[in-house]
Amino acid sequence: MKEDKSCPNCGKKLSLFYLKQNCPACGVDLLHYDMEGRLERDAQKAAKEVEALWRVLRRADKARLIEKYYQKKGKPFPWEDADAAEPPSAQEQEDQCP
Protein backbone atom coordinates (compact mmCIF):
# COMPACT_ATOMS: atom_id res chain seq x y z
CA MET A 1 0.00 0.00 0.00
CA LYS A 2 3.09 2.26 0.22
CA GLU A 3 2.91 3.45 -3.36
CA ASP A 4 -0.76 4.33 -2.93
CA LYS A 5 -0.06 7.27 -0.62
CA SER A 6 0.71 9.96 -3.22
CA CYS A 7 0.24 10.80 -6.88
CA PRO A 8 3.14 9.39 -8.92
CA ASN A 9 2.96 12.37 -11.30
CA CYS A 10 2.62 15.49 -9.13
CA GLY A 11 3.40 13.98 -5.71
CA LYS A 12 0.16 15.19 -4.09
CA LYS A 13 -0.59 13.25 -0.92
CA LEU A 14 -3.72 11.13 -1.23
CA SER A 15 -5.90 9.79 1.53
CA LEU A 16 -6.20 6.01 1.59
CA PHE A 17 -9.95 6.56 1.29
CA TYR A 18 -9.63 8.66 -1.87
CA LEU A 19 -10.92 6.17 -4.43
CA LYS A 20 -11.31 8.10 -7.69
CA GLN A 21 -9.12 6.94 -10.54
CA ASN A 22 -7.75 10.39 -11.39
CA CYS A 23 -5.52 12.60 -9.28
CA PRO A 24 -7.53 15.54 -7.85
CA ALA A 25 -4.60 17.88 -8.52
CA CYS A 26 -3.19 16.99 -11.95
CA GLY A 27 -5.91 14.67 -13.32
CA VAL A 28 -3.52 11.85 -14.15
CA ASP A 29 -4.96 8.31 -14.37
CA LEU A 30 -3.51 6.91 -11.13
CA LEU A 31 -4.18 3.26 -11.97
CA HIS A 32 -2.57 3.22 -15.39
CA TYR A 33 0.10 5.89 -14.90
CA ASP A 34 3.45 4.74 -16.33
CA MET A 35 2.19 1.16 -16.59
CA GLU A 36 5.18 -0.05 -18.63
CA GLY A 37 7.64 1.44 -16.15
CA ARG A 38 5.79 -0.13 -13.24
CA LEU A 39 5.76 -3.50 -14.96
CA GLU A 40 9.48 -3.20 -15.53
CA ARG A 41 10.10 -2.39 -11.86
CA ASP A 42 7.83 -5.24 -10.78
CA ALA A 43 9.75 -7.62 -13.06
CA GLN A 44 13.07 -6.51 -11.51
CA LYS A 45 11.69 -6.96 -8.01
CA ALA A 46 10.29 -10.39 -8.87
CA ALA A 47 13.63 -11.47 -10.38
CA LYS A 48 15.44 -10.43 -7.18
CA GLU A 49 12.99 -12.37 -5.03
CA VAL A 50 13.35 -15.51 -7.17
CA GLU A 51 17.14 -15.19 -6.93
CA ALA A 52 16.93 -14.89 -3.14
CA LEU A 53 14.65 -17.91 -2.98
CA TRP A 54 17.05 -20.06 -5.01
CA ARG A 55 19.92 -18.94 -2.78
CA VAL A 56 18.00 -20.17 0.26
CA LEU A 57 17.11 -23.45 -1.46
CA ARG A 58 20.74 -24.07 -2.50
CA ARG A 59 21.88 -23.48 1.06
CA ALA A 60 19.20 -25.84 2.41
CA ASP A 61 19.97 -28.55 -0.14
CA LYS A 62 22.97 -30.08 1.65
CA ALA A 63 22.82 -33.29 -0.41
CA ARG A 64 22.92 -31.21 -3.61
CA LEU A 65 19.88 -33.02 -4.94
CA ILE A 66 18.79 -30.08 -7.09
CA GLU A 67 22.22 -29.77 -8.65
CA LYS A 68 22.41 -33.50 -9.36
CA TYR A 69 18.93 -33.52 -10.87
CA TYR A 70 19.68 -30.69 -13.27
CA GLN A 71 23.07 -32.18 -14.17
CA LYS A 72 21.43 -35.51 -14.94
CA LYS A 73 18.82 -33.85 -17.09
CA GLY A 74 21.50 -31.74 -18.81
CA LYS A 75 19.60 -28.54 -18.07
CA PRO A 76 21.05 -25.22 -16.84
CA PHE A 77 20.74 -24.72 -13.09
CA PRO A 78 17.71 -22.63 -12.16
CA TRP A 79 19.83 -20.20 -10.10
CA GLU A 80 21.91 -19.51 -13.20
CA ASP A 81 18.66 -18.37 -14.80
CA ALA A 82 17.97 -16.22 -11.78
CA ASP A 83 21.56 -14.87 -11.66
CA ALA A 84 21.33 -13.95 -15.29
CA ALA A 85 17.96 -12.31 -14.83
CA GLU A 86 18.38 -8.83 -16.21
CA PRO A 87 15.60 -6.32 -16.02
CA PRO A 88 13.55 -6.98 -19.15
CA SER A 89 14.14 -4.47 -21.88
CA ALA A 90 11.28 -2.87 -23.75
CA GLN A 91 12.06 -5.22 -26.69
CA GLU A 92 11.84 -8.25 -24.38
CA GLN A 93 8.52 -7.03 -23.06
CA GLU A 94 7.26 -6.65 -26.61
CA ASP A 95 8.32 -10.23 -27.39
CA GLN A 96 6.57 -11.53 -24.31
CA CYS A 97 3.30 -13.24 -24.97
CA PRO A 98 0.63 -11.91 -22.58
Partner: protein
Protein backbone atom coordinates in the same frame (compact mmCIF):
# COMPACT_ATOMS: atom_id res chain seq x y z
CA UNK B 1 4.65 -15.95 -31.19
CA UNK B 2 7.48 -17.99 -29.80
CA UNK B 3 5.93 -20.42 -27.30
CA UNK B 4 9.37 -21.55 -26.07
CA UNK B 5 10.35 -18.05 -24.99
CA UNK B 6 10.47 -17.66 -21.27
CA UNK B 7 7.66 -15.62 -19.77
CA UNK B 8 8.63 -12.49 -17.88
CA UNK B 9 7.69 -12.77 -14.25
CA UNK B 10 5.95 -9.73 -12.78
CA UNK B 11 4.56 -11.25 -9.60
CA UNK B 12 7.23 -11.79 -6.98
CA UNK B 13 7.55 -14.72 -4.57
CA UNK B 14 6.12 -12.72 -1.65
CA UNK B 15 3.10 -11.40 -3.53
CA UNK B 16 2.39 -14.87 -4.87
CA UNK B 17 2.57 -16.34 -1.39
CA UNK B 18 0.34 -13.63 0.09
CA UNK B 19 -2.23 -14.18 -2.66
CA UNK B 20 -2.23 -17.89 -1.78
CA UNK B 21 -2.47 -17.27 1.96
CA UNK B 22 -5.47 -15.02 1.39
CA UNK B 23 -7.24 -17.91 -0.31
CA UNK B 24 -6.26 -20.17 2.58
CA UNK B 25 -7.99 -17.81 5.02
CA UNK B 26 -11.04 -17.57 2.81
CA UNK B 27 -11.27 -21.35 2.33
CA UNK B 28 -10.85 -22.04 6.02
CA UNK B 29 -14.22 -20.39 6.46
CA UNK B 30 -15.79 -21.55 3.20
CA UNK B 31 -14.99 -25.24 3.74
CA UNK B 32 -17.26 -25.25 6.77
CA UNK B 33 -20.11 -24.14 4.51
CA UNK B 34 -19.63 -26.84 1.90
CA UNK B 35 -21.82 -29.89 1.63
CA UNK B 36 -20.18 -32.10 4.22
CA UNK B 37 -21.00 -30.10 7.35
CA UNK B 38 -23.76 -27.70 6.41
CA UNK B 39 -26.42 -30.37 6.23
CA UNK B 40 -25.19 -31.96 9.47
CA UNK B 41 -25.17 -28.54 11.17
CA UNK B 42 -28.72 -27.61 10.17
CA UNK B 43 -30.28 -31.03 10.71
CA UNK B 44 -28.47 -32.38 13.74
CA UNK B 45 -27.22 -29.28 15.55
CA UNK B 46 -29.87 -26.68 14.74
CA UNK B 47 -32.70 -29.26 14.75
CA UNK B 48 -34.29 -28.08 11.49
CA UNK B 49 -36.10 -30.81 9.47
CA UNK B 50 -34.22 -32.03 6.35
CA UNK B 51 -37.08 -30.91 4.08
CA UNK B 52 -36.84 -27.28 5.25
CA UNK B 53 -33.03 -27.34 4.91
CA UNK B 54 -33.22 -28.79 1.39
CA UNK B 55 -35.78 -26.13 0.40
CA UNK B 56 -33.65 -23.30 1.77
CA UNK B 57 -30.54 -24.54 0.00
CA UNK B 58 -32.46 -24.76 -3.25
CA UNK B 59 -34.06 -21.30 -2.86
CA UNK B 60 -30.75 -19.65 -1.97
CA UNK B 61 -29.05 -21.66 -4.73
CA UNK B 62 -31.41 -19.96 -7.20
CA UNK B 63 -30.65 -16.58 -5.59
CA UNK B 64 -26.99 -17.38 -6.21
CA UNK B 65 -27.62 -17.71 -9.92
CA UNK B 66 -28.58 -14.02 -9.95
CA UNK B 67 -26.31 -12.83 -7.17
CA UNK B 68 -22.93 -13.81 -8.61
CA UNK B 69 -23.28 -12.40 -12.13
CA UNK B 70 -24.71 -9.17 -10.62
CA UNK B 71 -21.62 -8.93 -8.44
CA UNK B 72 -19.44 -9.67 -11.49
CA UNK B 73 -21.19 -6.88 -13.39
CA UNK B 74 -20.69 -4.44 -10.50
CA UNK B 75 -17.00 -5.33 -10.31
CA UNK B 76 -16.56 -4.74 -14.03
CA UNK B 77 -18.17 -1.30 -13.65
CA UNK B 78 -15.91 -0.32 -10.75
CA UNK B 79 -13.13 2.18 -11.52
CA UNK B 80 -10.92 3.30 -8.66
CA UNK B 81 -7.29 4.22 -8.29
CA UNK B 82 -6.71 0.84 -6.62
CA UNK B 83 -8.24 -0.96 -9.62
CA UNK B 84 -11.61 -2.61 -9.95
CA UNK B 85 -10.97 -5.57 -7.65
CA UNK B 86 -8.79 -4.42 -4.75
CA UNK B 87 -11.34 -2.10 -3.07
CA UNK B 88 -13.62 -5.10 -2.47
CA UNK B 89 -10.78 -7.22 -1.15
CA UNK B 90 -9.83 -4.43 1.27
CA UNK B 91 -13.34 -3.89 2.62
CA UNK B 92 -15.01 -7.33 2.67
CA UNK B 93 -13.05 -9.32 5.33
CA UNK B 94 -14.58 -7.49 8.32
CA UNK B 95 -18.31 -7.90 7.50
CA UNK B 96 -17.60 -11.43 6.23
CA UNK B 97 -16.03 -12.36 9.57
CA UNK B 98 -19.01 -10.94 11.51
CA UNK B 99 -21.57 -12.76 9.36
CA UNK B 100 -19.62 -16.01 9.75
CA UNK B 101 -19.82 -15.75 13.56
CA UNK B 102 -23.55 -14.96 13.41
CA UNK B 103 -24.18 -17.95 11.15
CA UNK B 104 -22.38 -20.65 13.15
CA UNK B 105 -23.42 -19.14 16.47
CA UNK B 106 -27.13 -19.45 15.56
CA UNK B 107 -27.91 -22.68 17.46
CA UNK B 108 -26.17 -21.28 20.55
CA UNK B 109 -28.05 -17.98 20.39
CA UNK B 110 -31.38 -19.79 19.93
CA UNK B 111 -30.70 -22.79 22.16
CA UNK B 112 -33.79 -22.23 24.31
CA UNK B 113 -36.06 -21.52 21.36
CA UNK B 114 -38.54 -24.27 20.51
CA UNK B 115 -40.21 -22.23 17.76
CA UNK B 116 -39.23 -23.89 14.50
CA UNK B 117 -40.29 -20.82 12.50
CA UNK B 118 -37.83 -18.62 14.40
CA UNK B 119 -35.04 -21.09 13.70
CA UNK B 120 -35.90 -21.28 10.01
CA UNK B 121 -36.08 -17.48 9.66
CA UNK B 122 -32.70 -17.17 11.39
CA UNK B 123 -31.27 -19.86 9.09
CA UNK B 124 -32.42 -17.96 5.98
CA UNK B 125 -31.27 -14.54 7.16
CA UNK B 126 -27.87 -15.54 8.49
CA UNK B 127 -27.14 -17.63 5.43
CA UNK B 128 -28.22 -14.84 3.07
CA UNK B 129 -26.01 -12.32 4.88
CA UNK B 130 -22.98 -14.59 4.83
CA UNK B 131 -23.58 -15.47 1.20
CA UNK B 132 -23.76 -11.78 0.21
CA UNK B 133 -20.42 -10.86 1.77
CA UNK B 134 -18.75 -14.04 0.61
CA UNK B 135 -19.69 -13.29 -3.01
CA UNK B 136 -18.53 -9.70 -2.56
CA UNK B 137 -15.06 -11.04 -1.73
CA UNK B 138 -14.89 -14.20 -3.80
CA UNK B 139 -15.62 -12.79 -7.26
CA UNK B 140 -12.93 -10.07 -7.01
CA UNK B 141 -10.46 -12.55 -5.49
CA UNK B 142 -10.56 -14.99 -8.40
CA UNK B 143 -10.80 -12.19 -10.93
CA UNK B 144 -7.53 -10.98 -9.48
CA UNK B 145 -5.79 -14.16 -10.67
CA UNK B 146 -6.30 -12.97 -14.26
CA UNK B 147 -5.73 -9.26 -13.56
CA UNK B 148 -2.57 -9.49 -11.42
CA UNK B 149 -0.31 -10.14 -14.38
CA UNK B 150 -0.33 -10.19 -18.19
CA UNK B 151 1.92 -13.27 -18.04
CA UNK B 152 0.17 -16.69 -18.29
CA UNK B 153 2.86 -18.37 -16.18
CA UNK B 154 2.36 -15.80 -13.38
CA UNK B 155 -1.33 -16.68 -13.40
CA UNK B 156 -0.64 -20.42 -13.29
CA UNK B 157 1.74 -19.94 -10.36
CA UNK B 158 -0.71 -17.74 -8.48
CA UNK B 159 -3.62 -20.13 -8.96
CA UNK B 160 -1.51 -23.19 -8.07
CA UNK B 161 -0.16 -21.49 -4.92
CA UNK B 162 -3.64 -20.39 -3.88
CA UNK B 163 -5.16 -23.81 -4.46
CA UNK B 164 -2.27 -25.55 -2.70
CA UNK B 165 -2.31 -23.33 0.40
CA UNK B 166 -6.08 -23.33 0.60
CA UNK B 167 -6.02 -27.11 0.40
CA UNK B 168 -3.68 -27.32 3.38
CA UNK B 169 -4.34 -24.33 5.63
CA UNK B 170 -7.95 -24.06 4.51
CA UNK B 171 -8.42 -27.78 4.91
CA UNK B 172 -7.59 -27.60 8.61
CA UNK B 173 -11.18 -26.49 9.28
CA UNK B 174 -12.91 -29.50 7.81
CA UNK B 175 -10.14 -32.06 8.00
CA UNK B 176 -8.82 -31.51 11.51
CA UNK B 177 -10.68 -28.93 13.55
CA UNK B 178 -14.34 -29.82 13.03
CA UNK B 179 -14.13 -33.64 13.00
CA UNK B 180 -11.88 -33.73 16.07
CA UNK B 181 -14.04 -31.23 17.94
CA UNK B 182 -17.21 -33.16 17.02
CA UNK B 183 -15.70 -36.41 18.28
CA UNK B 184 -14.45 -34.77 21.48
CA UNK B 185 -17.93 -33.41 22.07
CA UNK B 186 -19.74 -36.66 21.21
CA UNK B 187 -17.47 -38.71 23.49
CA UNK B 188 -17.83 -36.10 26.28
CA UNK B 189 -14.05 -35.54 26.41
CA UNK B 190 -14.81 -31.82 26.43
CA UNK B 191 -17.84 -30.47 28.16
CA UNK B 192 -19.13 -28.74 25.03
CA UNK B 193 -22.32 -29.46 23.12
CA UNK B 194 -22.23 -29.53 19.32
CA UNK B 195 -23.78 -26.05 19.38
CA UNK B 196 -20.79 -24.70 21.27
CA UNK B 197 -18.38 -26.62 19.03
CA UNK B 198 -19.79 -25.06 15.85
CA UNK B 199 -19.91 -21.58 17.42
CA UNK B 200 -16.26 -21.91 18.46
CA UNK B 201 -15.21 -23.11 15.00
CA UNK B 202 -17.13 -20.21 13.45
CA UNK B 203 -15.20 -17.76 15.63
CA UNK B 204 -11.89 -19.35 14.60
CA UNK B 205 -12.94 -19.01 10.93
CA UNK B 206 -13.59 -15.32 11.48
CA UNK B 207 -10.06 -14.88 12.82
CA UNK B 208 -8.65 -16.57 9.69
CA UNK B 209 -10.74 -14.31 7.45
CA UNK B 210 -9.46 -11.14 9.12
CA UNK B 211 -5.87 -12.37 9.43
CA UNK B 212 -5.36 -13.97 6.04
CA UNK B 213 -8.06 -13.03 3.54
CA UNK B 214 -7.23 -9.33 4.09
CA UNK B 215 -3.76 -9.93 2.64
CA UNK B 216 -5.09 -10.04 -0.94
CA UNK B 217 -6.44 -6.49 -0.78
CA UNK B 218 -3.42 -5.15 1.06
CA UNK B 219 -0.58 -6.61 -1.00
CA UNK B 220 -1.74 -7.82 -4.44
CA UNK B 221 -1.74 -5.40 -7.39
CA UNK B 222 -3.68 -5.28 -10.66
CA UNK B 223 -1.37 -5.14 -13.68
CA UNK B 224 -3.53 -5.75 -16.75
CA UNK B 225 -4.67 -2.61 -18.54
CA UNK B 226 -8.44 -2.42 -18.58
CA UNK B 227 -10.47 -1.02 -21.45
CA UNK B 228 -11.06 2.70 -21.36
CA UNK B 229 -14.61 2.62 -22.79
CA UNK B 230 -17.49 2.42 -20.37
CA UNK B 231 -19.77 -0.59 -20.78
CA UNK B 232 -23.34 -0.76 -19.59
CA UNK B 233 -24.32 -3.10 -16.79
CA UNK B 234 -26.37 -5.19 -19.20
CA UNK B 235 -23.48 -5.47 -21.66
CA UNK B 236 -21.75 -7.41 -18.94
CA UNK B 237 -24.65 -9.88 -18.91
CA UNK B 238 -24.71 -10.14 -22.70
CA UNK B 239 -21.03 -10.96 -22.43
CA UNK B 240 -21.83 -14.36 -20.94
CA UNK B 241 -24.16 -15.24 -23.81
CA UNK B 242 -21.48 -14.43 -26.39
CA UNK B 243 -18.77 -16.37 -24.63
CA UNK B 244 -19.19 -19.90 -26.00
CA UNK B 245 -16.21 -21.49 -24.19
CA UNK B 246 -17.48 -20.06 -20.90
CA UNK B 247 -20.98 -21.39 -21.56
CA UNK B 248 -19.54 -24.85 -22.21
CA UNK B 249 -17.64 -24.73 -18.91
CA UNK B 250 -20.86 -23.74 -17.10
CA UNK B 251 -22.79 -26.56 -18.77
CA UNK B 252 -20.12 -29.08 -17.83
CA UNK B 253 -20.23 -27.99 -14.20
CA UNK B 254 -24.02 -28.12 -14.11
CA UNK B 255 -23.96 -31.65 -15.51
CA UNK B 256 -21.36 -32.63 -12.94
CA UNK B 257 -23.38 -31.34 -9.98
CA UNK B 258 -24.58 -34.76 -8.84
CA UNK B 259 -20.97 -35.87 -8.39
CA UNK B 260 -20.68 -33.39 -5.49
CA UNK B 261 -23.23 -35.23 -3.32
CA UNK B 262 -20.38 -37.48 -2.18
CA UNK B 263 -19.45 -34.80 0.37
CA UNK B 264 -22.91 -34.79 1.97
CA UNK B 265 -23.12 -38.56 2.23
CA UNK B 266 -19.50 -38.76 3.36
CA UNK B 267 -20.27 -36.78 6.53
CA UNK B 268 -23.28 -38.99 7.32
CA UNK B 269 -21.34 -42.15 6.41
CA UNK B 270 -18.56 -41.39 8.91
CA UNK B 271 -20.92 -40.40 11.73
CA UNK B 272 -23.68 -43.00 11.21
CA UNK B 273 -21.86 -46.06 9.79
CA UNK B 274 -18.31 -45.85 11.16
CA UNK B 275 -19.38 -43.80 14.22
CA UNK B 276 -16.20 -41.77 14.18
CA UNK B 277 -15.94 -38.49 12.29
CA UNK B 278 -12.15 -38.35 12.82
CA UNK B 279 -11.72 -41.05 10.16
CA UNK B 280 -12.61 -38.39 7.65
CA UNK B 281 -9.61 -36.36 8.89
CA UNK B 282 -7.24 -39.24 8.32
CA UNK B 283 -8.38 -40.03 4.79
CA UNK B 284 -8.58 -36.34 3.91
CA UNK B 285 -4.98 -35.91 5.01
CA UNK B 286 -4.04 -38.71 2.63
CA UNK B 287 -6.00 -36.86 -0.05
CA UNK B 288 -3.99 -33.76 0.87
CA UNK B 289 -0.78 -35.67 0.15
CA UNK B 290 -2.19 -36.52 -3.27
CA UNK B 291 -2.97 -32.84 -3.71
CA UNK B 292 0.63 -31.97 -2.84
CA UNK B 293 1.89 -34.40 -5.50
CA UNK B 294 -0.61 -32.89 -7.95
CA UNK B 295 0.56 -29.33 -7.31
CA UNK B 296 4.21 -30.37 -7.67
CA UNK B 297 3.62 -32.15 -10.97
CA UNK B 298 1.10 -29.79 -12.58
CA UNK B 299 3.75 -27.94 -14.61
CA UNK B 300 5.15 -31.26 -15.86
CA UNK B 301 1.72 -32.63 -16.74
CA UNK B 302 0.77 -29.46 -18.57
CA UNK B 303 3.68 -30.04 -20.95
CA UNK B 304 1.95 -33.19 -22.17
CA UNK B 305 -1.73 -32.30 -22.00
CA UNK B 306 -3.67 -29.12 -22.71
CA UNK B 307 -6.30 -27.80 -20.28
CA UNK B 308 -9.19 -29.49 -22.09
CA UNK B 309 -7.53 -32.91 -22.13
CA UNK B 310 -6.60 -32.58 -18.46
CA UNK B 311 -10.19 -31.70 -17.58
CA UNK B 312 -11.49 -34.84 -19.30
CA UNK B 313 -8.87 -37.03 -17.60
CA UNK B 314 -9.85 -35.42 -14.28
CA UNK B 315 -13.41 -36.65 -14.75
CA UNK B 316 -12.63 -40.17 -15.94
CA UNK B 317 -10.08 -41.19 -13.32
CA UNK B 318 -12.22 -40.37 -10.23
CA UNK B 319 -15.14 -42.26 -11.85
CA UNK B 320 -13.00 -45.38 -12.18
CA UNK B 321 -11.60 -45.02 -8.65
CA UNK B 322 -15.05 -44.42 -7.10
CA UNK B 323 -16.46 -47.52 -8.78
CA UNK B 324 -13.51 -49.67 -7.70
CA UNK B 325 -13.82 -48.39 -4.11
CA UNK B 326 -17.53 -49.23 -4.00
CA UNK B 327 -17.05 -52.82 -5.14
CA UNK B 328 -13.99 -53.38 -2.92
CA UNK B 329 -16.03 -52.40 0.15
CA UNK B 330 -19.46 -53.64 -0.90
CA UNK B 331 -19.65 -56.47 1.68
CA UNK B 332 -17.76 -54.84 4.55
CA UNK B 333 -18.65 -51.16 4.24
CA UNK B 334 -19.31 -50.94 7.99
CA UNK B 335 -15.90 -52.31 9.06
CA UNK B 336 -13.44 -49.46 9.48
CA UNK B 337 -10.27 -51.50 8.88
CA UNK B 338 -11.62 -52.59 5.50
CA UNK B 339 -13.03 -49.33 4.19
CA UNK B 340 -10.55 -46.79 5.58
CA UNK B 341 -7.58 -48.16 3.55
CA UNK B 342 -9.83 -48.32 0.46
CA UNK B 343 -10.99 -44.72 0.88
CA UNK B 344 -7.45 -43.59 1.71
CA UNK B 345 -6.02 -45.06 -1.52
CA UNK B 346 -8.90 -43.59 -3.52
CA UNK B 347 -8.40 -40.18 -1.90
CA UNK B 348 -4.65 -40.26 -2.49
CA UNK B 349 -5.11 -40.82 -6.21
CA UNK B 350 -8.14 -38.54 -6.52
CA UNK B 351 -6.20 -35.84 -4.63
CA UNK B 352 -3.63 -35.70 -7.46
CA UNK B 353 -6.33 -35.18 -10.08
CA UNK B 354 -8.33 -32.78 -7.91
CA UNK B 355 -5.22 -30.62 -7.68
CA UNK B 356 -4.86 -30.59 -11.49
CA UNK B 357 -8.53 -29.80 -11.84
CA UNK B 358 -8.49 -26.91 -9.39
CA UNK B 359 -5.69 -25.14 -11.28
CA UNK B 360 -6.86 -25.96 -14.78
CA UNK B 361 -10.50 -24.94 -14.23
CA UNK B 362 -9.49 -21.48 -12.96
CA UNK B 363 -6.99 -21.05 -15.80
CA UNK B 364 -9.66 -21.90 -18.34
CA UNK B 365 -11.87 -19.09 -17.04
CA UNK B 366 -8.87 -16.74 -17.46
CA UNK B 367 -8.56 -18.03 -21.05
CA UNK B 368 -12.20 -17.16 -21.70
CA UNK B 369 -11.54 -13.61 -20.41
CA UNK B 370 -8.69 -13.26 -22.91
CA UNK B 371 -10.91 -14.78 -25.60
CA UNK B 372 -13.68 -12.23 -25.01
CA UNK B 373 -11.16 -9.39 -24.96
CA UNK B 374 -9.94 -10.68 -28.32
CA UNK B 375 -13.47 -11.05 -29.68
CA UNK B 376 -15.16 -7.89 -28.37
CA UNK B 377 -12.40 -5.63 -27.06
CA UNK B 378 -13.94 -5.81 -23.58
CA UNK B 379 -12.24 -7.41 -20.64
CA UNK B 380 -14.74 -8.67 -18.07
CA UNK B 381 -12.88 -10.56 -15.34
CA UNK B 382 -15.64 -9.82 -12.85
CA UNK B 383 -18.39 -11.37 -14.92
CA UNK B 384 -16.32 -14.38 -16.06
CA UNK B 385 -15.03 -15.25 -12.62
CA UNK B 386 -18.44 -14.69 -11.08
CA UNK B 387 -19.41 -17.69 -13.18
CA UNK B 388 -16.62 -19.72 -11.62
CA UNK B 389 -17.71 -18.81 -8.10
CA UNK B 390 -21.38 -19.16 -8.97
CA UNK B 391 -20.87 -22.62 -10.44
CA UNK B 392 -18.82 -23.72 -7.43
CA UNK B 393 -21.44 -22.47 -4.98
CA UNK B 394 -24.34 -23.74 -7.05
CA UNK B 395 -22.78 -27.20 -7.12
CA UNK B 396 -22.37 -27.04 -3.36
CA UNK B 397 -25.94 -25.84 -2.70
CA UNK B 398 -27.66 -28.12 -5.20
CA UNK B 399 -25.70 -31.16 -4.14
CA UNK B 400 -26.30 -30.42 -0.44
CA UNK B 401 -29.96 -29.79 -1.14
CA UNK B 402 -30.29 -32.94 -3.26
CA UNK B 403 -28.31 -35.02 -0.79
CA UNK B 404 -30.33 -33.79 2.19
CA UNK B 405 -33.59 -34.43 0.32
CA UNK B 406 -32.45 -37.98 -0.46
CA UNK B 407 -31.78 -38.81 3.19
CA UNK B 408 -35.39 -39.76 4.09
CA UNK B 409 -35.62 -41.80 0.85
CA UNK B 410 -32.75 -44.02 1.92
CA UNK B 411 -34.27 -44.49 5.38
CA UNK B 412 -32.47 -41.79 7.42
CA UNK B 413 -34.70 -39.91 9.90
CA UNK B 414 -34.21 -37.53 12.82
CA UNK B 415 -36.40 -37.02 15.88
CA UNK B 416 -36.24 -34.51 18.72
CA UNK B 417 -36.22 -35.32 22.42
CA UNK B 418 -36.27 -32.99 25.39
CA UNK B 419 -33.55 -33.49 28.01
CA UNK B 420 -34.21 -33.08 31.78
CA UNK B 421 -32.55 -29.64 31.72
CA UNK B 422 -35.11 -28.45 29.19
CA UNK B 423 -32.82 -28.33 26.14
CA UNK B 424 -33.83 -30.15 22.99
CA UNK B 425 -31.57 -32.86 21.51
CA UNK B 426 -31.79 -34.29 18.01
CA UNK B 427 -31.55 -38.09 17.62
CA UNK B 428 -30.91 -39.81 14.28
CA UNK B 429 -32.24 -43.22 13.13
CA UNK B 430 -31.01 -45.42 10.27
CA UNK B 431 -33.58 -47.91 8.90
CA UNK B 432 -33.65 -49.39 5.38
CA UNK B 433 -34.82 -48.60 1.85
CA UNK B 434 -35.31 -50.64 -1.34
CA UNK B 435 -34.40 -53.84 0.48
CA UNK B 436 -31.02 -52.55 1.63
CA UNK B 437 -30.05 -50.97 4.96
CA UNK B 438 -29.57 -47.19 5.03
CA UNK B 439 -25.87 -47.74 5.71
CA UNK B 440 -25.48 -49.47 2.33
CA UNK B 441 -27.01 -46.48 0.53
CA UNK B 442 -24.78 -44.07 2.44
CA UNK B 443 -21.78 -46.09 1.15
CA UNK B 444 -23.11 -46.15 -2.43
CA UNK B 445 -23.88 -42.41 -2.49
CA UNK B 446 -20.47 -41.72 -1.01
CA UNK B 447 -18.56 -43.73 -3.64
CA UNK B 448 -19.96 -45.10 -6.88
CA UNK B 449 -23.08 -43.02 -7.64
CA UNK B 450 -21.47 -39.56 -7.63
CA UNK B 451 -18.39 -40.90 -9.41
CA UNK B 452 -20.26 -42.35 -12.35
CA UNK B 453 -22.74 -39.47 -12.74
CA UNK B 454 -19.74 -37.12 -12.82
CA UNK B 455 -18.89 -38.49 -16.27
CA UNK B 456 -21.74 -36.45 -17.78
CA UNK B 457 -19.56 -33.38 -17.32
CA UNK B 458 -17.26 -34.56 -20.13
CA UNK B 459 -19.83 -34.06 -22.90
CA UNK B 460 -19.54 -30.23 -23.30
CA UNK B 461 -15.75 -30.44 -23.61
CA UNK B 462 -16.19 -32.25 -26.92
CA UNK B 463 -17.25 -28.84 -28.34
CA UNK B 464 -14.67 -26.71 -26.48
CA UNK B 465 -12.32 -25.04 -28.99
CA UNK B 466 -10.13 -22.79 -26.85
CA UNK B 467 -7.02 -24.96 -26.99
CA UNK B 468 -3.57 -25.40 -28.57
CA UNK B 469 -2.81 -23.29 -31.63
CA UNK B 470 -6.07 -21.37 -31.55
CA UNK B 471 -5.38 -20.15 -28.00
CA UNK B 472 -1.81 -19.27 -28.96
CA UNK B 473 -3.05 -17.20 -31.93
CA UNK B 474 -5.50 -15.33 -29.72
CA UNK B 475 -2.80 -14.53 -27.17
CA UNK B 476 -0.41 -13.30 -29.86
CA UNK B 477 -3.03 -10.99 -31.29
CA UNK B 478 -3.90 -9.70 -27.83
CA UNK B 479 -0.28 -8.78 -27.26
CA UNK B 480 -0.39 -6.35 -30.18
CA UNK B 481 -3.69 -4.85 -29.04
CA UNK B 482 -2.52 -4.35 -25.46
CA UNK B 483 0.52 -2.45 -26.66
CA UNK B 484 -1.80 -0.05 -28.42
CA UNK B 485 -3.91 0.19 -25.28
CA UNK B 486 -0.82 0.91 -23.17
CA UNK B 487 0.11 3.76 -25.51
CA UNK B 488 -3.36 5.20 -25.06
CA UNK B 489 -3.31 5.09 -21.27
CA UNK B 490 0.42 5.52 -20.57
CA UNK B 491 0.98 8.72 -18.69
CA UNK B 492 -2.67 8.89 -18.05
CA UNK B 493 -2.91 12.62 -18.55
CA UNK B 494 -5.03 12.26 -21.65
CA UNK B 495 -7.31 9.63 -20.14
CA UNK B 496 -9.62 11.29 -17.70
CA UNK B 497 -12.74 9.84 -16.25
CA UNK B 498 -15.50 12.12 -15.07
Amino acid sequence: MNEKKKDIRYVGVKENLLFGLANAGQCFSYNMFTGSYLSLFFVKVFGIPPGAVATMLLVLGIWDTVNDPIMGGIVDKTHTRYGKLRPYLLFVPIPLAISTILFWGGPLLLQNTRELTVKIVYMYLSYLLWEFFYTLGDVPYWSMSAAMSPSPSDRTRAIATARFLSGFVGGIATVVMLPVMIDLSNTHKIGWSLREVFAFCGAISAVFIIGLFSLAGLFVKERVIQQVEETSFFDAFRFIGKNKPLLLIILSNVLGTVSSIAGVFGAFYYTEVLNLMSWSSLVSLVGGLGGLVGMMTIVLIKKHFDNRQLTIINKVVPAILGTLAFFCGIRRYDVWYVVIPIIAVKNLLCGVFDAYNSVVSTEMIGDTVDYMEWKTGMRNEGMAFSVLTFVGKMQGRLSTSLGTALLPLIGYFVTEQTLPDGTVETVSNCTEAFGQPTQFWLWAFFTVIPAVTGLLAIIPYHFYELKGDRLAEIRAEMKVRREASADETNGGVTVERG
